[in-house]
Chain length 309, copies 6
């Protein structure tokens, strides 16, 4: 990188300091750059307030523990830093905008020892980024087009999909396959057994005959939004089952929706090119859960997205 260009005003936490985002750079021998040897997590804000930060940090520490990476910070410190990052950046948001807040810890830098990098331990980054409201508004309006690619989600006996790590190539190559024919496609992969698993940072739910089905959590990231949807379904009195679901279920679903941190809940329109149910977007159960979600987070994220359409 040559001379410092003009930049935004956001700051991020980086190994103990709050610095402008553009100064958060890592040596090329950092193990996350070389190997994806890191974990991360990501929450969002609603009306500029962080959502379930504790739950995200708890999941983050499980990912780290699975990878046997020691971040050198307690969960409580990580929460406090995340809040501080938000505090320092919140004034940059417009009223209809919100942030993603992400935590990332790499195992550190592989160094001969003479490169001149002062810091070779874990690289700890906490950062925020405006939600891509504009890019994703169309899907709130029209529904998501789900496409199942041929690539299978990595088997848990190779690398657990439950850990949110910096190894995303399985999801990335699968998504490129799905998008090859339809750039608007959202890929949902099958797991090693041929059941529906998950998409990039997103969980899938099927509705049939007034009941909801979502894959068991062994083969998918246990999404915090997924858990919120599960809790809200219970609260709404809608039966919800965590079980193996497959293509037969999907083609016969009355409704399908996706959950993710940024989307919360978003309805799907087609599944492998077939209109889902009678084509209503969102369907009644999806609508009901979305409304409950909006109430729960006290933020009408649907309107927020649509405003950016």
């Amino acid at each position: 990188m040559s001379a410092p260009p003009r930049s935004n005003e956001r700051v991020a936490y980086f190994n103990g300091e709050y610095v402008p985002e553009r100064e958060v750079v890592v040596p090329f021998r950092d193990r996350s750059f070389k190997y994806g040897d890191a974990a991360f997590d990501m929450t969002r804000t609603f009306n500029h307030r962080p959502f379930k930060l504790r739950e995200h940090i708890d999941r983050f520490y499980k990912s780290l523990r699975y990878l046997r990476i020691d971040p050198g910070l307690s969960p409580e410190e990580m929460i406090r830093i995340s809040e501080e990052v938000l505090t320092r950046n919140v004034h940059l948001l417009g009223p209809d905008e919100d942030y993603w807040i992400g935590q990332r810890v790499s195992r550190g830098v592989d160094a001969v020892g003479d490169e001149g990098w002062q810091h070779t331990g874990p690289n700890v980054i906490v950062e925020c980024m405006p939600l891509p409201l504009k890019q994703r508004a169309r899907q709130f309006r029209d529904g998501v087009d789900i496409v199942v690619p041929a690539v299978r989600r990595t088997s848990p006996d190779a690398l657990s999909p439950r850990a949110k790590t910096h190894n995303y190539l399985n999801l990335i190559t699968a998504d490129m396959d799905a998008k090859a024919s339809n750039p608007q496609a959202w890929s949902i992969l099958l797991d090693v057994n041929g059941n529906l698993a998950e998409g990039t940072g997103s969980n899938i739910f099927l509705v049939q005959d007034g009941e909801i089905y979502t894959p068991r959590d062994q083969f998918v990231l246990p999404g915090v939004s997924r858990q919120t949807a599960i809790d809200l379904a219970a609260q709404e009195g809608i039966p919800l089952h965590q079980r193996d679901v497959d293509l037969y279920d999907a083609f016969n679903a009355d409704e399908i929706f996706i959950t993710s941190t940024s989307w919360c809940i978003v309805p799907a329109r087609t599944f492998n090119g077939q209109t889902i149910g009678n084509g209503a977007v969102p369907g009644p159960i999806t609508k009901r859960l979305t409304d409950a979600y909006v109430r729960f987070v006290d933020c009408d994220f649907v309107s927020q997205y649509l405003k950016h359409a």
Copy 2:
């Protein structure tokens, strides 16, 4: 990172320029840092001359093509840059030292667009690093202790082990399991079918009754050193078979050896704690292939390693 510390004198190629290694830093939103969304390759020098640079670069471009990453440079340019990096750093080597030379290309930087990073396209790095001769000398003297962990090598229908990517967590977590009981252990993973596959950047060969067996290349990185060993076996008139090999084969092997870019060929001493064959390190076939390798590369890498013991 705070004030610039004292550093080595090596330089690396970084997106069009040759800069001191310590200046090769990437934004934290680089996709290889975030996702391991990158490929790399790595050759070594013998007597300060690069080994099979063309073959390594060819494999590198296959990895990139599988990932659908465009490096923006032709293979010929990548070779030329690699040679230039060596030229600019070779004077820093002692007479008994040699370099790893690595090429790395990430897909680029995910940016809101306002971070102030000038470069958001592919990050291209070509760099060199002294071989870890001292750390690995013991294994040339005593033989490698191979341990097979429970974690299985990622299945090719999730992410092909033939592509040399920046997604190494499968190999890293497996290796931590193997080293948990024996820090000297070198892990060799089983593939999805339960056959011997590969270790981190390394291939395995079994010798029995004067013939050599090595796993088929679908489940392993097609190592350049592996291919060299295959070619040298043919030249030496030693029958060599690429086929599925499993634990039964390994426990009944007369000799086992490992190939890798840095090691070339190194003998193994134990397999899951059992002495291999009659315990000779190296065994006669391994010795013969090693000698042929030394002649082929015109560099006595065994003595080189042992000098650093």
Copy 3:
């Protein structure tokens, strides 16, 4: 079906008689209608002469034997009937047209015994049909767009893909998934192990570095055109390997082509949306094999297709 409408003039063999095609109707309790409990085979003519009829009939009898269906006719009789069907219909072809000739045997009719159907044994049909030259001309001109769907080819321990049966739903549903995003897509399924298998009535070949690779025949129909391509490659001195090939191979192929009875050899243009090799359609090896095929069958099928474009 109500009053007999106007019809073509083609005749077909049906249980011992040659009748107008429109009279070849089967009771709804025929086991092939109810269960797909039947086998078939299909050759084509070149310049109105049947291609490798003996080889097709041999394969047909293997399918029947696997299903334990007795057609009540010897292979020699089946060949003679096929030739007779051609003779009786050949005058209906234009000069640039050719026929598919198909043989079909169902296990027979499940009947209470009182339905009034005279014939309840195997239904034996031999028929011909003009090749869809117009519909497929585009792909000879531009190349096939290969898409790999998520549905896997039926495992041989459930129903062998080597038998050409009337159970095609696995291929049909997979193809609908592939065509959902791109109606021009030609689906090639993965087998149970995640290797490339086959498409509907079609085999896949990859070319890399001047050598050809095609899946082993255990997971695919052993196509007669596939075998012709294999034989012609040998004759042309082009190395050809029957081995497991997967997505990594396909993304790194210099050329890909498809063989089938109707197409003979047709080049592919894209694989999961990525341009194959340097984009030449056909590539040089495909061209060379196609030319050899044209010479072998003494019919320029490429020109024949392009005339109908």
Copy 4:
């Protein structure tokens, strides 16, 4: 087919008309004849009244939707037609007889366009057939001999066993293997994971220590009779679990019974040649459920079968 022979008096619905059964014939290019490209369902009558027709039609439309076949009729119309078919044929039944009532829809006819077939859209057939009371009476008296063949039930990622399609070769070839040594054998296949799945149109239940176990519905047809048994067990206060069951469970079962549309509930006598439990046919739980079934359908189907022995 030549001159019209003498026939029964039953009529069937065929694409909008009610015609004598012997006139329900389909062109040989119908996709169900060629590919088994169709779905069906089948209920039975008790005392000449149809059983759970709505449930069968609902399942039928799920099969059609999975196959993406549009029957051109609503479920309500399909129910009405089924009732009409029964009405038109019921007078042909003796007092101790009952009907199967079946609905079948094929995707339509593949035609060059000149064959002279007026109808090339979906072929829709609704028909009835006397139950095979005589042939199956022995099994009500003595119990079924269950044999597990080596052929595995098709994996859901190839073709879902939950869809009742015209692709039955997997079940047919498996059944031939089971019957090879014992023509009385009733085959129950294992699924892709080695668990007990299902037989041709039939589900299996194991009883142990007063509780009932039946395979999860992902790998089997969700039988309407199966569901009836599940509901009746609940009503009778007999604990019933849908879970993976395997050979160990079967050899240790106190009782085993089969459910199917025609049989309702029938006891098994042996499992792979071993006497089940203490050999009582039916065992006490099977008896209790059978009695409840008889009450529920208000028809003593056991006596009905035995009368025909």
Copy 5:
């Protein structure tokens, strides 16, 4: 064996007689010696009283039935004999000692018929043996070191892990692999799907967030101690789930414990080299269940073990 040496005073039941242990010898053509063609079970005493003898004998007869071995004795007789063996040997125990009591039945002797062996039917042995309190005391004090080997537990479609047979080589070879690097390691194998299964005669339980998880019983021996732990958890109001658990669960467990007949409940210290939870041995839930177990069996087995340390 030459002249009879001095021996202990224990007696065992052997085919109808109570004889000194040293006289319980079987012909080398006994099928259990040749093939491991036998089943066994094993309970222990607490304060010299047998534990859940009925449950163990019930499981024993399930194993026998799965193997289709007829022991020639009823379960009640087997219980009575087991009690008699204990009665005849109990006076040999010290106050802090207890017995294993084992039942073993082989299918019998394969004989030409002229070897001179009177007894060729099932060999039935009931025997007792002092518990290895001294050898296992360390693990009660320090915790077990769990290591997961690469060898997978035999698949239920080959031989059910639920049957307690004399075929232990799968477990034995796996355990040798685990102990190769750490002789103190206790191996827990993965099942065919990559989930945690079981160790030699032992079940695994994970604790997280105050709830307990243990593998489903299809892939593991349904341990009587395992069932006791499950019952005691219910009694203590600790939620317990039988579900698939994998390496991610294990690395994130707060506590892990093992159950077996001899150990009852023993805490684990490390899992693949990583300290479990915060390292407390036993953790609070393990302690609570252990205390409940001690009360339930009315024997402080922990103190008993520690006395022998």
Copy 6:
């Protein structure tokens, strides 16, 4: 065992001594009795001369090494002992009789230490037994009835089928299933991938179009008779392929034969109830190989068997 009964006159080697067979008894705590923790091998004599004793002993030591059992004897000693056992028993054979000669080594005796057994190390037995010529004569006359059971051969990642161990329950339970419907059935199991593997101590070969196919040796015991057949096929100029073969191959085979130590080569008559090829027993290739086998061993084993019919 009570008073010594009358016995045959054969002697066996037992831990250093040659003793009457009836004295070869092992303590019930021998690990082969308890766990099948032992390996064995078995050759036969032709005209009272041992067949390929060296090859059998080599395979035996591979089994032992895989199990990590040290027999305490060199292969040369084991050969010498085997010859001595034959020498001491050969006079008991009639002129048309021959022996099996078996070697067995268990890992030793698990002992508290006070049982009074002098020998607790490996139990080493070398023994002979007349071949079951009479029992198997029918199959030489009529051909073997092959039946494929549902039980799958143990996966190599659980316990390698290549090691000839005392763990035979997988094969035994599978064989009971196959024999349940047909007591004359000879079971051939499928491997974990659904390919034909092997039967109890026996290998399968298919003949089609004059070429021979037999499963790869990873999933089967590498039979010495199998290797003999392979060598003789080469010598006879009959192409032979080691490759995956499945049910499709078997149903389409012209001939099938089985090899085993006792049978050498025996033709099959039916495969899962279907007549093989045209029903000739033996078929021409089987006959030719059998004749070559007879010449090679200089013993007409077919006549020998038929004499005992």
